[in-house]
Subunit: 139 residues, 4 copies
């Protein structure tokens, strides 16, 4: 990854106000893989006090989308066509980490996956897996 | 729906801090159908300024979950086992409305769907459809 | 639908040897909706003697794909990018009927759904719902 | 895996007439992983002569289900609650191989994945990935 390639991911991410609301950060970018972390804030919880499924989904989806973007020229963006999430365990702990990966790049469609882990007191638990389709579009 | 039945949905919803962060409201509850509305706030956007997919997902998933809850006794809750979203159009406009419905209730599993529309200047556009599985659990 | 438009769906269907193996037929074609029926043959069952999930999937997916094709010019085909099936009840009875519908047509992608019903002794039961993405390609 | 544990998978598989129609075989069983292979027969093709998506789905789904079954006591079966398939490439070649794996076992639900590869003239290509939910039920 060139600096221009990682920069455009960081700029795109910074332009998502939702990610700022969530306190999320891009913590790793390599070709075909992007990792996003975020705290479980007081304002992003479900009714039992755990992280909201929408939080898990949001960073899982974003990590997968940016993983696809690592394969694309600078004049392209990606949008999510569809994505499916299986929720495995409650989002319990201090921090969530989503790891998005490209399963198959393509000119018209990318198949992607994402795993989301929760960190609680030093223990890491897989809480969700996602599988979806990203579509390259002109930036 | 008895007042106790709609109340427990409103209480559960009120206990989700994420829904407060999103400014979301339950605007309709009937047996097998729940409707949730929310504005597209400055803090819930993606990089192009439209509503974030995580916003669309969150209210779509919640509407479907509460639709399942309308079928359950007061001592049960539901959790999302899995759900899939197809994103159809950008979340453009002033307000999103998610309509969750029960396709098939069950003792162990509910199959649910949700549609999310965006309202812009009086025009309503379908922006996403969801299909998923809810699991009844003790409250 | 013109005769040329329904003919190309019937020809494409007839060219699928799997549909012949299943004894499946196209029983209805209108703009945005295709219905396929098939018996539950001795050779298409799962271990308990009900119709195999692969049978339910195959006709559900095909009905959705051909529903998309009703929107496309004669020089295009569709392929399934992805599709998700929720299985609701066993495929019990004499005959399955899949009804595919277009939720949203598009130049690059179609969002589609399908419902599969089983007929047993005159009673019809919803056994599966599908939601997916079809991609137009040159024929 | 004890012989009794692998036997019950082989017996269940043998009881699926669809798998016989497809000429499919279980070629590997270990805890949490099952592999199924099948030829692309003249009678299991789509309109362009490649293996039918229903064939890919059927062995992908079965491999994932039996992978879940490797975790369960002998008096239990599994059924597919839902599963999603992303089709990546045409099923071109002589033989398909599906590898099902357990992502997360559970008392009520298993999260599973499956990959399907096509073998053509000694080359192996990933043609589909599946992600789904299996439910343990009394045998």
């Amino acid at each position: 990854m060139t600096p221009a390639e990682t920069d455009r991911i960081r700029s795109s991410f910074a332009a998502q106000s939702m990610m700022e609301t969530f306190g999320a950060d891009v913590i790793e970018i390599e070709k075909g893989l992007v990792r996003i972390a975020c705290p479980i804030l007081p304002g992003t919880r479900q009714q039992q006090g755990f992280g909201h499924a929408g939080l898990t989904f949001s960073i899982g989806d974003s990590a997968a989308g940016y993983a696809a973007l690592t394969h694309l020229p600078l004049d392209q963006e990606v949008v999510t066509a569809e994505i499916k999430i299986n929720l495995i365990a409650p989002a319990r702990g201090q921090r969530l980490i989503a790891t998005g990966k490209v399963v198959k790049p393509g000119k018209r469609l990318f198949v992607v996956t994402s795993e989301v882990h929760a960190e609680m007191d030093g223990t890491t638990t897989l809480i969700a897996v996602l599988q979806g389709t990203m579509v390259p579009v002109p930036a």
